[in-house]
């Protein structure tokens, strides 16, 4: 492979600044502005919704109505900075760093089970350092995508093979299995997302469909086995099924699902207006700034606003799929496809549970839900996508 150039102004380029900026090889022309705009708009909308959801929750804001707004704004700034950093480095330079990133992620995930770990809502998925909490699982998603792409694409991109061979697939699966096993202990939602990412990556890598099909069959068989062996208590099964029949867990998940549905349903076409949703102000929906953030949009912004969120996610996925198709190598394609699988499933699960068509799981809505680590990871993904796209633009030049 040739040495890769990055969109830095070439030394000795004597074109006027504005010409340089508008040239085909300039950063301005190579960045996917539509993707950036969609992610930015979604994040800013998320900040407003988080603000609306937490304004009155004095129990968690400590009396400062803007507490969560400011924190989320800060999260967004850090996230954008991380994205710029990733773009600067480029996904190819990150290839070398992938094993380190992977090792650090797994180590952090294990730290969760030490006294540094914190339990939130019955899930031990956070590390707490002073005032700050970190969810290592979010970084693990990026690490899994990067390291699997590294292994699966290695022999294809060096033109040894047309498709990843069995050995590479096994190696890649082995790498994914470790973080997956860790989150399976106490974070079902995260485990589901990682599993879907693995499937998406495998699918896009061009590996034999036997692997993908085998994994799906194994997953279904495992679920059936768990259910048949009675490993789960009845209440756990009920909680899982309560999204379809709230009566199974009327005071817990069923209540939440019901209230979420009432909040969204009462929004109608245009909603009650920001800060004016009675369900939101009345705090009838739990975890509204994180897992149930979509209900705020549903109630206060109505079909227009909530549909807009789905549309913005659609735009991000559309651009990401375009980038996957246009990538110069399989490595880039796999990363972009992995990100698509990640965002698509996580959004579907999060919005689906608010709409009562998916079981309730503690999964944030990318870019919108309150949470630092999730915001960072999402924006790192945007950085990766931009990097893949800029590579193509340059090659095409």
């Amino acid at each position: 492979m040739s040495i890769h150039s990055y969109p830095l102004p070439k030394r000795g380029d004597h074109r006027p600044v504005w010409r340089r900026l508008l040239a085909r090889d300039s950063i301005v022309r190579r960045v996917d502005w539509i993707l950036l705009a969609a992610a930015g708009a979604l994040s800013l909308l998320g900040c407003l919704l988080v603000w609306s959801a937490t304004r009155n929750r004095t129990g968690i804001t400590g009396g400062d109505p803007q507490f969560f707004l400011i924190r989320q704004g800060l999260n967004l700034l850090i996230g954008v900075a991380l994205a710029v950093g990733v773009m600067w480095l480029g996904h190819h330079r990150l290839r070398g760093a992938a094993p380190v990133l992977y090792a650090v992620s797994v180590a952090l995930m294990l730290l969760v089970f030490t006294p540094l770990g914190t339990e939130i809502n019955g899930q031990r998925a956070w590390i707490s350092i002073g005032d700050w909490t970190l969810q290592p699982g979010e970084f693990a998603k990026v690490a899994v995508i990067l390291s699997m792409a590294l292994i699966l694409a290695a022999r294809v991109d060096t033109a040894d093979r047309t498709h990843p061979d069995g050995r590479s697939v096994l190696q890649a699966l082995g790498l994914a299995a470790i973080p997956l096993a860790i989150v399976l202990v106490d974070d079902m939602g995260m485990a589901m997302v990682i599993a879907v990412i693995v499937l998406g990556v495998l699918l896009a890598s061009g590996a034999s469909l036997v692997w993908t099909a085998g994994l799906v069959v194994a997953g279904v068989a495992g679920a059936v086995l768990v259910w048949a062996l009675g490993v789960l208590d009845e209440y756990q099964i009920n909680r899982f099924a309560a999204f379809a029949n709230p009566d199974l867990d009327p005071s817990g998940v069923g209540y939440n699902t019901n209230q979420a549905r009432i909040a969204i349903g009462s929004g109608g076409l245009t909603g009650s207006g920001l800060f004016r949703g009675t369900q939101t102000t009345g705090q009838f929906v739990p975890e509204q700034q994180t897992d149930f953030i979509f209900t705020v949009a549903g109630e206060e912004l109505g079909f227009v606003g909530a549909g807009g969120i789905i549309l913005l996610i659609g735009v991000i996925l559309w651009r990401a799929l375009r980038i996957a198709r246009g990538a110069t190598d399989l490595y880039g394609t796999i990363i972009a496809a992995g990100i698509v699988a990640w965002f698509a499933f996580q959004s579907f699960e999060n919005i689906g549970m608010a709409l009562g068509i998916m079981p309730v799981a503690g999964i944030p809505l990318p870019f919108v839900s309150y949470g630092g680590t999730a915001m960072f990871a999402s924006w790192i993904a945007i950085g990766l996508l931009q990097s893949i796209r800029m590579k193509r633009s340059l090659s095409a030049a």
Partner: protein
């Protein structure tokens, strides 16, 4: 870079990416479709659900209107008590659900901690009393008998008693001025039931869960006037019940006041005299049964003869209406309704039915005159009268020879009426009546409104019974199966022979039935109030007035909202001449007849009293005393169950009521200044500029 395209993808990968794209956009379409379904298709339903989620009502109870007597003296009003209440939602937010606060409160109030805890629990089907039946957002009263010191403690130590308040609150009170309880006439209140709330939902006066409603007496009849309209404030609240939104709603409107025709002083005299007469009767020995009289119950009605307005109405046994205030205890409730209670809640003036005995003879006389027997004719008052093998006797088997109907009333001769009734029965066909028998005597009873409620403004009035042919047939229809079943038996005792006879032709009016009816015995039943209507019609010259207690409704601001004018329910079947003749005869009862020994020294010239005594017998019981009396202004009926003769048991009591009303002393001297009510009160009580009804507490 030889065998792979520059884009780094094989066709396989491209196809896979298309598959991924299709999958992803199907998911997004699913979300969009579901969102549309929830927000647009079903949006209205959810909007309604959301509205119900966050609006809570807080009710400010309306002050219930007072019930006052004819001179404004309160019979039922409200007093301000220090009510300590607990706010359940505040308590439930505490870690121990407020257990410690309630325990401390119980100690301060010197109450049983368990009872305090029980009072704030919410009622459901299984919860025994006490429990809270109202809205959980409503302050729940713990006690209405807090002392000022306790209330101050609760307020000063607010941090120790979160969610507990001590507020002066209006509580129903029956003040019993002049010691007039007026218990059964006033009735009582009790908390509204779920069914009633449901029923009243769409009416003009919807009920709230916290409401008390009138259960009997005036409190019930005039409930919608008295209750007023509770103020409702609607708050938007959050999941924890904290108020987040603007309050809106209607202010409370106090209930209107009811002015009655009751005179609390006369009421007090009536109650006292009735109780004393019964007390006195119990010291007398009944010569027939050989035991002292039971005098188990009694009633007295004082009514304005020319309007039907009730001046006093007492019923024994009675009770203190204040036991209902603040929730009745289980013990007290048992004492009022238990098997041994003898039903003090019953208003025996309107709900007590018994045969009227000889007081019925004015009705028989009217029927006889209408049938063609001249009032001044001559009728044989023999000592006994035989029909077949049965002999009907006069009281103490006395005979008076040929006398007029008037004299028959005066001496209360039975045989005169037996003879007329038997003759009429035979004329109507005897055991085989024609298609259209005259039934003059039964007709007269019906025309005097017997067998029907008088329509007084008190609930659950009894209708009495006129045992005419129609009733006999209906009764037979309902009983014949039982009788005929019993008739099949071979036994030959009295009960079985009677059953056999009844099974066959129990529907027939027999001579004995007709004869017994003529002297107010047998199956005939009346209430004291019905007799008051009958005798008042003699006093006023022929109008049957609907008895009324309520006189006017005065709004909380003092405006007269409604005046209840006297209302006729019919005209007496007696002609003016008969009425005149009966008036004379009933006056003779006082001056020289059966009641004369009780009215010696009465200033009959100035205040003529008329009377008819009655001593009704019921199988297996001691005689019931009846005394029906009237002056030009008032009609007084008194009856005491199992107390002996009309004049004997009731005479002195009725006389003393008249004495009090007209200001007559024991010697018969009239002192107008001592008279409580020498003439009926026509005007409404005075209302001051604040709209308050001024009570005239003078007298007695």
């Amino acid at each position: 870079m030889t065998n792979i395209p520059e884009t780094g993808r094989t066709t396989r990968v491209t196809i896979r990416l298309v598959v991924l794209q299709i999958l992803v956009f199907s998911l997004l379409l699913t979300l969009g479709g579901r969102l549309w379904y929830l927000q647009i298709r079903q949006g209205d339903e959810f909007a309604a659900a959301a509205a119900g989620n966050h609006v809570q009502q807080v009710v400010q109870p309306a002050v219930r209107g007072s019930i006052v007597d004819a001179r404004g003296v309160p019979l039922a009003d409200n007093e301000t008590r220090l009510v300590v209440s607990a706010d359940r939602s505040t308590l439930m937010r505490m870690r121990d659900n407020g257990a410690r606060v309630l325990a401390d409160l119980a100690e301060l109030l010197e109450m049983d901690p368990e009872e305090v805890a029980n009072r704030v629990r919410l009622c459901n089907a299984e919860t025994p009393q006490p429990c809270w039946n109202g809205s959980p957002y409503q302050p729940i009263p713990i006690t209405d008998e807090a002392t000022t010191r306790q209330a101050l403690q609760i307020r000063e130590r607010a941090e120790d008693f979160p969610g507990i308040s001590a507020e002066p609150t209006a509580v129903r009170r029956y003040p019993a001025h002049f010691e007039a309880r007026t218990a059964q006439v006033l009735g009582y209140l009790s908390p509204v039931t779920d069914e009633e709330v449901e029923e009243a939902r769409d009416t003009d006066s919807p009920l709230l869960r916290s409401d008390q409603v009138g259960r009997s007496g005036l409190e019930r009849t005039y409930d919608s006037w008295l209750r007023g309209k509770a103020g409702v404030t609607r708050y938007e609240v959050d999941k924890y019940g904290r108020v987040i939104g603007q309050a809106e709603g209607d202010p409370a409107a106090a209930g209107a006041n009811l002015v009655t025709s009751i005179d609390a002083r006369v009421q007090a005299v009536a109650e006292e005299e009735l109780a004393q007469a019964m007390e006195e009767a119990r010291t007398q020995r009944d010569t027939i049964s050989g035991r002292p009289y039971e005098a188990d119950s009694g009633a007295v009605v004082v009514m304005e003869s020319r309007t039907g307005r009730i001046v006093a109405m007492a019923s024994q046994p009675d009770y203190d209406p204040n036991v209902w205030v603040g929730g009745i205890s289980a013990d007290e409730y048992r004492r009022l309704t238990g098997e041994d209670s003898n039903n003090p809640l019953l208003n025996r003036a309107t709900q007590g039915q018994s045969p009227p005995g000889s007081t019925f003879k004015v009705i028989t006389s009217t029927g006889a005159v209408n049938a063609g027997y001249p009032f001044d004719g001559r009728y044989d008052c023999s000592s006994s009268y035989s029909i077949g093998s049965t002999t009907f006797r006069n009281f103490e088997s006395r005979g008076y020879g040929p006398i007029s109907l008037g004299q028959a009333l005066e001496v209360s001769c039975n045989t005169v009426f037996y003879r007329i009734a038997h003759t009429e029965w035979q004329k109507d066909g005897g055991m085989n009546p024609g298609d259209d028998p005259n039934d003059w005597l039964f007709k007269a009873a019906r025309q005097f409104n017997l067998g029907s409620p008088t329509g007084i403004d008190l609930p659950a009035e009894a209708s009495g019974r006129v045992p005419d042919r129609q009733w006999k047939r209906e009764y037979w229809e309902s009983q014949k199966d039982a009788w005929c079943e019993m008739a099949k038996s071979d036994a030959n005792d009295f009960a079985h022979r009677l059953a056999r006879e009844n099974c066959e032709d129990g529907w027939r009016m027999r001579a004995g039935d007709a004869v017994n009816f003529s002297i107010g015995q047998g199956d005939v039943l009346v209430t004291p109030l019905q007799m008051a209507v009958v005798y008042a019609s003699i006093s006023n010259g022929g109008t049957l007035w609907r008895p009324q207690v309520g006189k006017a409704v005065i709004g909380a601001d003092g405006t007269v909202l409604e005046e209840f004018e006297p209302e006729e329910i019919g005209n007496s079947p007696a002609t003016e001449q008969t009425i005149r003749q009966m008036k004379a005869a009933t006056e003779d009862v006082i001056t020289r007849g059966t009641a004369s020994w009780r009215f010696i020294g009465w200033p009959q010239e100035q205040i003529p009293i008329h009377a008819k005594t009655g001593t009704a017998t019921t199988e297996g019981k001691q005689s019931t005393s009846w005394l029906a009396t009237f002056t030009d202004d008032y009609t007084i009926i008194m009856t005491i169950s199992q107390a002996g003769t009309g004049s004997g048991a009731s005479g002195p009591a009725v006389r003393r009521i008249y004495e009090a009303m007209y200001g007559v002393d024991e010697e018969g001297t009239i002192d107008r200044s001592a008279a409580l009510l020498p003439a009926p009160m026509e005007e409404l009580p005075e209302i001051d500029e604040n709209g308050t009804i001024v009570a005239d507490l003078s007298g007695r």
